[in-house]
Amino acid sequence: MPEWYSHPFFLLLPTAFFTLAIFSFLYKDNPMFKLAEHVFAGLSAGYYFGLIWQSVIRQQVWMPLTQDGQWSVLIPGVLGLLMFARFFPRIGWTTRLPLAFVIGSTAGIMFIQQLHGMVLPQVGRTLLPLDSLRNILIIVGVLTTLIYFYFSKPHTGTLGWIASVGIGFIMVAFGAHFGYTVMARVSLLIGRVQFLLVDWLGVAR
């Protein structure tokens, strides 16, 4: 292998090319970005395919079936195959069965998870003594935000006033989160610029 090939400039050339190609999208749509976009989509779809093939189809279906004789995996296997029934008009409706199974079980899990894992602890944490401005603001913030989501009556009169206090709190929170995230995103950008200038071109330290 020629020596020049092992230089970081050439070793990192593909990575740098695709990095610049994606940044070029900030200017406007162009063939370089279009190429990067399609390569990116193809690779990540392939990545997901390989990952799920190995971790689900092979490890959770094929191996238990052939090595451990777990015939029960045939049930989800058949349900999974029913997804392809859509290509056969006569039995096309059966494609809804695996979807109904997944959506139904998700609904069952979520019903409990949201009430037990979300409502109970969040309400519990709001039970604070009225002994500081901090606690009072937290209680007022939680309740007015909750009342903002009240659907059964128009937001007029007292309800409207409470809801507008709620929206004030919501705007403070959103602004705060926006400001909080800006710095994190800027540090990510600095990381990519460092890759281009330091790792690839070696023009800065």
Binding site: F25, D29, A36, E37, F40, A41, L43, S44, A45, Y47, Y48, F49, L51, I52, M83, R86, T95, R96, L99, V102, I103, T106, A107, I109, M110, I112, Q114, L115, H116, G117, V119, L120, P121, V123, G124, R125, T126, L127, L128, P129, L130, D131, I139, L143, L146, I147, F149, Y150, F151, S152, K153, P154, I170, M171, A173, F174, G175, H177, F178, T181
Partner: protein, 339 residues
């Protein structure tokens, strides 16, 4: 919610003309039409409670029996003692109260009680956005979030997709639904196909609902590319979003599309508010399907949610007073522990 940006503030937004207003009126009535034929005959017995609701109450009864009755019977030899998670009794009580509140209002809706739901600006804007895309001859892009089908927000997004697809089918407006994972893609294809069939249209275009990528950043890049080239008239984002929310919404903004977003992920809401014309916050996402369907039964379930909000408010106020002026009872905080 239309707090920050508004289409009128953008020079590239074409004002909606009277022709579209009539389309909008048609869309409005369509959205609010009660169109749940099909499974009605079996699943709804026509009485106060459906078969499913009776079965659900039966289920809760079984759980209550497991919790309360059997342990009492078994108190002698402890045969059943290990079978029941008695520490989850708080979740059971909450589930029963919540289920009862929702079922009560659904039963009221069946009896014909009027269900008022306040207008939600982001949802009123859905038909305007589709009408505008129809008038401009541009597609509607719908993104049902970037979560898999094991997320309830994805399912909420798919429900809204069903309503939007009926309208795009009716007015022959091109619809683009790029999806991140294959399972929501399968569900979205089924939803769109049935919605088109309901409008008497046989749907065949594989590009309408397409699997784009298995990873969220490549998905954002691909969706960005699709939007820049197809320049949609309306872009609707409903479901679970993570960091890619702003990547998608900013590109959509640059194309001049009317943008409506809805998510229950609090972290992403500030970015949608900055980039979109209308935003559905948190619970409004789940209310969207009810609002768009106009189905009294679904609207009734929203009333049940509202009753729970009142119950929670009263509990919080009572609990706060008890803790402030009482002896800080430990039992009060342990009631709300998730075990």
């Amino acid at each position: 919610m239309n707090i920050i940006a508004h289409p009128k503030s953008r020079p590239d937004v074409v004002p909606v003309n009277p022709g579209v207003r009539s389309v909008r009126g048609a869309l409005d009535s369509r959205f609010r039409g009660n169109d749940d034929r099909g499974v009605k005959a079996f699943w709804e017995c026509g009485g106060l409670l459906s078969v499913a609701e009776q079965a659900f109450i039966g289920l809760i009864t079984v759980v209550l029996t497991m919790h309360l009755v059997l342990p009492c019977i078994a108190s002698g030899d402890g045969q059943f003692a290990g079978v029941f998670r008695i520490e989850r009794i708080n979740a059971l009580v909450l589930s029963v109260v919540f289920g009862a509140a929702v079922l009560w209002y659904i039963a009221q809706a069946r009896r014909g009680a009027k269900m008022y739901i306040r207008p939600i600006p982001g949802l009123s804007a859905v038909d305007e956005a589709v009408g505008r895309a129809t008038e401009m001859g541009r597609p509607v892009v719908f993104i049902p979030g970037t979560g898999d089908l094991d997320e309830i927000q994805t399912i909420a997004g798919l429900s809204i997709l069903g309503r939007v697809a009926r309208v795009t089918a009716r007015y022959n407006t091109p619809l683009r639904v790029p999806v991140l994972y294959p399972l929501p893609m399968a569900a979205a294809q089924e939803t769109v196909r049935e919605a088109y069939l309901d409008e008497g249209v046989e749907h065949q275009d594989p590009e309408t609902v397409q699997y784009v990528a298995g990873e969220s950043f490549s998905y954002s890049a691909r969706v960005g590319g699709i939007m820049m080239r197809e320049r949609p008239g309306a872009a609707i984002y409903m479901g679970l979003f993570t960091a890619e929310s702003l990547l998608i919404a900013e590109v959509g903004q640059s194309t001049g599309a009317i943008q409506i977003a809805g998510t229950a992920a609090p972290d992403q809401l500030p970015f949608f508010i900055a980039a979109c014309d209308y935003v559905l916050i948190g619970e409004e996402l789940y209310a969207a399907s009810a609002y768009l369907s106009g189905d009294p039964k679904i609207l009734g379930s929203l009333k049940g949610q509202d009753l729970m909000k009142i119950v929670i408010t009263v509990i919080v106020l009572a609990g706060v007073l008890a803790i402030t002026f009482g002896q800080n009872p430990e039992w009060l905080t342990t009631i709300f522990e998730a075990k």
